[in-house]
Symmetry: C2
Subunit: 348 residues, 2 copies
């Protein structure tokens, strides 16, 4: 089971501030000089662009251990799994699949989406709070690729991108955070409102429309023009540290103000997760979130041979079907999800 995703570093272990920050991500948008943005590319020119990028990738040092995956050669399930692991965006794997590709390394820390909104989106994803480390890996890969590819760059505007919000550094940094106490105490709304005023964007686990599911949020900075990459990464790190502090404080407050209600809530979540036979993905996410709060507070034992990040991902339809080894209808998924989670709960 867990072996199926053992390659995915960000899910596998808890990184710095891992009680709150599940993962850190840095993404660079890059485009080839003289080639239209993907939205204007026909299949033939798109394929030529992809071939060109993959050729550059294959010429990189072996240390990068990069493996190109052409989406047209992947089954729909495998494409879905790339999204569930946050290695590809829903947009990249959406039909029609023509020439798009994803390049990943063995541990799935690095992924390069080819043919999404921009020709290249270089992404580095690390467990816990590690934006600087992610940025420095992304920067090295960017440099290595730029030696082989001619990126569209303007002395005034910086890197040119398909969408104006990305122009400049082409950088977007984000952290995936678990904020159960801030949600329980209803402080999350006010916090996000304050963050929005500083140009920081908060979305749900799987982007717009998934706000608050499992109390997991993605916090990112939006402006990519007028500041250096280091400044942006540092600014978001400071924001993330503040959020970590607020969440930890809210947890302590909950423990102090209503220890029994808290123990009751996480206990019930544990009890249902441990004994239900049918779990929808929405209920599983909610209950896993509450159990994880109990684990963070030391009220409950940790998950067995799995992290919270891993279980959150493993209970998604694609990874769940890979776990089962065959296609599952919705009813079978709900049963398999309950079964999978129970194997990872330290009962008794």
């Amino acid at each position: 089971m867990a072996t199926e995703t053992s390659e995915t570093a960000w899910m596998q272990s808890n990184g710095p501030e891992g009680d709150v920050v599940m993962a850190s991500r840095v993404r660079l948008a890059r485009n080839l000089q003289g080639v239209p943005f993907p939205v204007h590319l026909d299949a033939a020119r798109g394929r030529a662009m992809t071939d060109h990028v993959l050729e550059a990738v294959s010429s990189l040092s072996r240390d990068w251990q990069l493996k190109p995956l052409r989406l047209e050669s992947l089954a729909p399930l495998d494409r879905q799994i790339l999204v569930e692991k946050h290695l590809a965006s829903p947009l990249l794997v959406a039909d029609p699949i023509r020439y798009e590709a994803v390049v990943t390394d063995a541990r799935e820390t690095v992924s390069v989406m080819v043919g999404e909104e921009d020709h290249l989106r270089i992404q580095v994803l690390l467990p816990g709070l590690g934006l600087s480390a992610a940025w420095s890996v992304a920067d090295r890969l960017d440099d290595a690729l730029e030696e082989r590819l001619d990126f569209a760059f303007d002395a005034d505007h910086g890197y040119l991108t398909a969408y104006p919000t990305n122009v400049g550094t082409g950088l977007r940094a984000s952290v995936m955070v678990h904020l159960p106490a801030l949600v329980l105490t209803r402080e999350a709304g006010a916090l996000f409102h304050t963050l929005a005023q500083t140009g920081v964007v908060v979305r749900g686990l799987y982007g717009e429309g998934s706000e608050g599911r499992g109390s997991i949020f993605q916090i990112s900075n939006q402006v990519s023009l007028g500041r250096s990459e280091e400044e942006m990464v540092h600014a978001l790190t400071v924001v993330a540290e503040q959020v970590v502090g607020r969440e930890r404080h809210a947890r302590q407050q909950l423990e102090k103000a209503a220890p029994l209600a808290l123990a009751d809530r996480v206990g019930r979540a544990f009890g249902v997760l441990a004994h239900a036979r049918i779990l929808t993905s929405e209920e599983a996410l909610r209950l896993l979130s509450e159990v994880q709060l109990g684990i963070a507070l030391g009220t409950l034992p940790g998950f067995r041979e799995a992290t919270f990040s891993e279980l959150v991902s493993l209970t998604r339809p694609g990874l769940l079907q890979r776990y089962a080894g065959h296609e599952l209808d919705a009813g079978e998924r709900d049963r398999t999800r309950a079964d999978l989670i129970q194997r990872h709960l330290a009962v008794g």
Copy 2:
């Protein structure tokens, strides 16, 4: 904990058809010749009536092991516990307490309420389906008391009682049944409707207004005139056997039609009971009922050192406070209830 109620035979063990029938009860209404019914008695005459009855009781053979309890000498909590054990009616222990008494034996199989609607209500309560056995104990006690007391009796109407529905034999027979599958399959309503047409009354666990809580019902026959006691007891036994058959059939149907949904439901109930820290009496009753269904179907292990009947009773406010050894406010009761139930769940 369980030792606190070890005297109460009906709670302690499962009797015949114990998977469905929790207890059987036979009750005889008797009044003293020439003494007004309790509703018309002042305290002085009531006290004289009680003294007279208790004197007769004390002269019975020692085999009966009867112990008189004058309600005025009992703390309110102890009176409440008598009701929770079904040894006294809510009416008997309702204020004002003047001269009323309850006579019980060591195992609390027999109870005689003195000064409720009738001067005496002789009750025998046995675990499982045992109406004939209960009747024969009640009949023997009635005979023994009638040797010592002059019961109001009319050659045409039989025993005279405060309420006309009891005139004749003065007998009311009832069974307490657990019908979770008939409730889940929504067959209970139609069944009760059919029973009502044959003069059989269905009420909730604690009388009117408690219908369906924990899927526990009291089924009794109402008409006490025109049939012999043996006929009435036999008739209700036949009804009870039919109900047992219907419930068992419904359980099998549920297991056949939706085994997973059933396992999910009883599993969730078990999980919450085993891990919640706060349980209201209503939620506890509902969850105990679902867990008991799982136990009856062999899906879950049995309760540890307790029966379903015992836990249903022990989670009531009075017995819960006796279990705790001191008075508890509502919040403390909800915590103690969760604690008590967890001690009796066979977890892990």
